[in-house]
Homo-oligomer: 189 residues x 2
């Protein structure tokens, strides 16, 4: 998606250690117009598949998820980071490792809001190693819901998570794909 | 706002200890159509005041904030919960006590995204004791930004936070006001 690629090139900040900051429009400050444009692009890519639920994990996926749910005219569900390791019977859960923060979170989703037969679009702001997506896919499997595909704002292709999922037969569409990053610059696929 | 009041009466669950769960459309599962309707109602209430920024605190305020920013055609900024108590020079910060979770978070906002002269609408899903709003108002004051007012989905009027702020001259508009809650039921103002 050209508009997002240009925004990433113009406003993204590459920090040492392979961190790409897009705080000015996607993570801390939000530009709702580009998010709605991204949601419309996901609608174009996934139109006709009967998607009836958009799923993400809090917090940074929420903004994209709610716009996507708006254009698909369905509900969004966000898996929550659990504060306890005591998981109750009324939720599905998965472990999600964060390479950025160096920790592991348990994420949970109420059984009430994800059902057998749901056709799910999983969305997130970033795709790097694919840990968050794998956790959300696992939750969908537990529920008997079908993952139609994933819709990602920015994929760091060089970190491999996206292609691992594609090799397993999961459809992953990323609106901006980053081929490589050095300490000072990035290259878009 | 009648539509939201009816939704709260129909789908809200009152739990012991004064907790109102609206997980089915506002907090865990999101109904984007009602959120857009709420954003349009905030636009009607605050039209003509030159609002150029919508502000909230992560995570549950994000969904409302991004829809509101969409209809006001401006940026949304969400204050982040800080993982460290080492606050850097490039952020504004405030302490926010949570009565629900019984803890205190430091929330931060980058100085880049909130400026002197900004006209800010602060939004959130719930208003009870008003701690989150006070934190966000403090951050706006630190930035020299003007708080035009607050827009809340559900105000628990009986917990007093909203009226305390109104007495200090802050405009607070709540789309659904709850007069009282017992262990099994609630009454709307």
């Amino acid at each position: 998606m050209k508009e997002l690629e240009q925004k990433v090139l113009k406003d993204g900040k590459v920090l040492p250690g392979g961190v790409l900051k897009v705080d000015s429009f996607l993570n801390h400050q939000i530009d709702p117009q580009i998010l709605m444009a991204m949601a419309n692009e996901l609608k174009r890519l996934y139109d006709g598949y009967g998607i009836n639920k958009v799923m993400t994990v809090e917090a940074s996926g929420i903004a994209i998820a709610v716009f996507a749910a708006y254009v698909f005219n369905c509900r969004a569900v966000f898996a929550k980071k659990s504060k306890t390791s005591n998981i109750s019977d009324d939720v599905y859960s998965a472990e999600v490792r964060s390479f950025t923060h160096g920790n592991t979170n348990t994420v949970v989703c109420s059984k009430e809001y994800l059902c057998k037969g749901d056709k799910v679009l999983i969305v997130d702001d970033f795709l790097a190693h694919g840990e968050a997506l794998r956790g959300l896919i696992s939750i969908c499997e537990q529920a008997g819901a079908e993952v139609v595909g994933c819709g990602i704002a920015i994929e760091k292709v060089f970190q491999g998570g996206g292609n691992e999922l594609r090799e397993k037969g999961i459809r992953v569409e990323s609106l901006c794909k980053i081929a490589s990053m050095s300490d000072t610059s990035l290259e878009i696929c």
